[in-house]
């Protein structure tokens, strides 16, 4: 930054303040004398390197993997069920068509043999006898 460089050239960045002699040597002891008593309480510090902290990324990765597996299984299950429903509807239609073709065949045979319902009944009842 051009303006910053101009200020630096003009004023410098050094410390322009000073303190009375021995100020920092005495400061700590003076302050500790003034420091009030506080209840002796143990502080609960959050542990950055605790087990939970270390395991957190692993747990996140595991959760993502589980979600991916779940989605994959769900996707393939859906595909399989769609295929099955397509297959079953196809078989029903095949079965239906085969039944209708059998009826047609019987009708055509009956027409060819010039048999009416009475003849068929007589034929069937004589077979049973």
């Amino acid at each position: 930054m051009k303006e910053e460089e101009i200020i630096k050239k003009r004023c410098g960045t050094g410390n322009v303040f000073r303190v009375p002699d021995g100020y920092f040597d005495d400061f700590a002891s003076n302050l500790m004398e003034k420091l009030p008593e506080r209840e002796n309480r143990t502080i609960q510090l959050s542990n950055h390197y605790g087990v939970a902290h270390i395991l957190k990324p692993i747990l996140y990765a595991a959760a993502c993997l589980c979600l991916a597996i779940f989605c994959t299984v769900l996707y393939f299950n859906k595909n399989v069920s769609t295929n099955q429903s397509q297959n079953s509807s196809a078989s029903v239609s095949v079965q239906g068509s085969s039944e209708s073709s059998r009826d047609e065949l019987i009708d055509r045979t009956a027409d060819y043999a010039m048999m009416d319902n009475h003849d068929i009944y007589a034929c069937v009842s004589s077979d049973q006898d």
Partner: protein
């Protein structure tokens, strides 16, 4: 400055038996760092001394709030800056608007007369220009320009995004440049 392992120091601070002695080490380790940070905002040695003491007393009384989520130095920096800005705010409120204008205009003169100011007139004028900046810009400028702190470090202390800090610093530099152009 005495270098003490921060991890070890924090453990001692957490223990009620070693708390007080550990805090003594904290004061020894960080008093100088915090002093200069406060001094650049407050400007006067006596006032800086008061604010620095208040900073450590506040840290001591609120030791329970330190959760080791940030570095000890970052936590102390934050308290020191808040205390300094509070002090300046109170000081401004105490002075009438008329006197405030005079006082702001004469900051470089006050500094030149201060026995604990080692700078020249231009440096006193820089401190005057910095003191005229809004709080956020002043704090960022001090930390970046004088202490050479990285934006990532300042971001942790001030809990502000790096982008916002860069913008604040840029505006601060522009204002200071204009200030110098106006007095040239």
């Amino acid at each position: 400055m005495i270098a003490v392992d921060e991890k070890h120091l924090i453990k001692q601070l957490a223990d009620s038996v070693t708390q007080r002695s550990a805090f003594g080490l904290v004061v020894k380790q960080y008093s100088e760092l915090l002093y200069w940070q406060i001094r650049r905002i407050v400007l006067n040695h006596e006032d800086t001394n008061d604010v620095l003491q208040n900073t450590f007393i506040k840290a001591w009384n609120n030791l329970d709030t330190f959760r080791n989520d940030s570095k000890l130095s970052t936590w102390l920096y934050r308290i020191a800056i808040n205390e300094s800005l509070d002090f300046v705010r109170k000081q401004k409120n105490e002075i009438s608007i008329e006197r405030d204008t005079d006082a702001t205009m004469s900051i470089s003169d006050i500094l030149m007369a201060d026995e604990y100011f080692d700078g020249n007139e231009i440096q006193a004028q820089l401190m005057q220009a910095v003191s005229k900046l809004p709080e956020a810009q002043r704090t960022v400028f001090n930390m970046r320009y004088f202490d050479g702190m990285k934006y990532s470090e300042i971001s942790k202390v001030l809990s502000t995004s790096e982008g916002a800090l860069k913008a604040s610093f840029h505006i601060a530099v522009q204002k200071i440049s204009k200030f110098f152009q106006s007095i040239d």
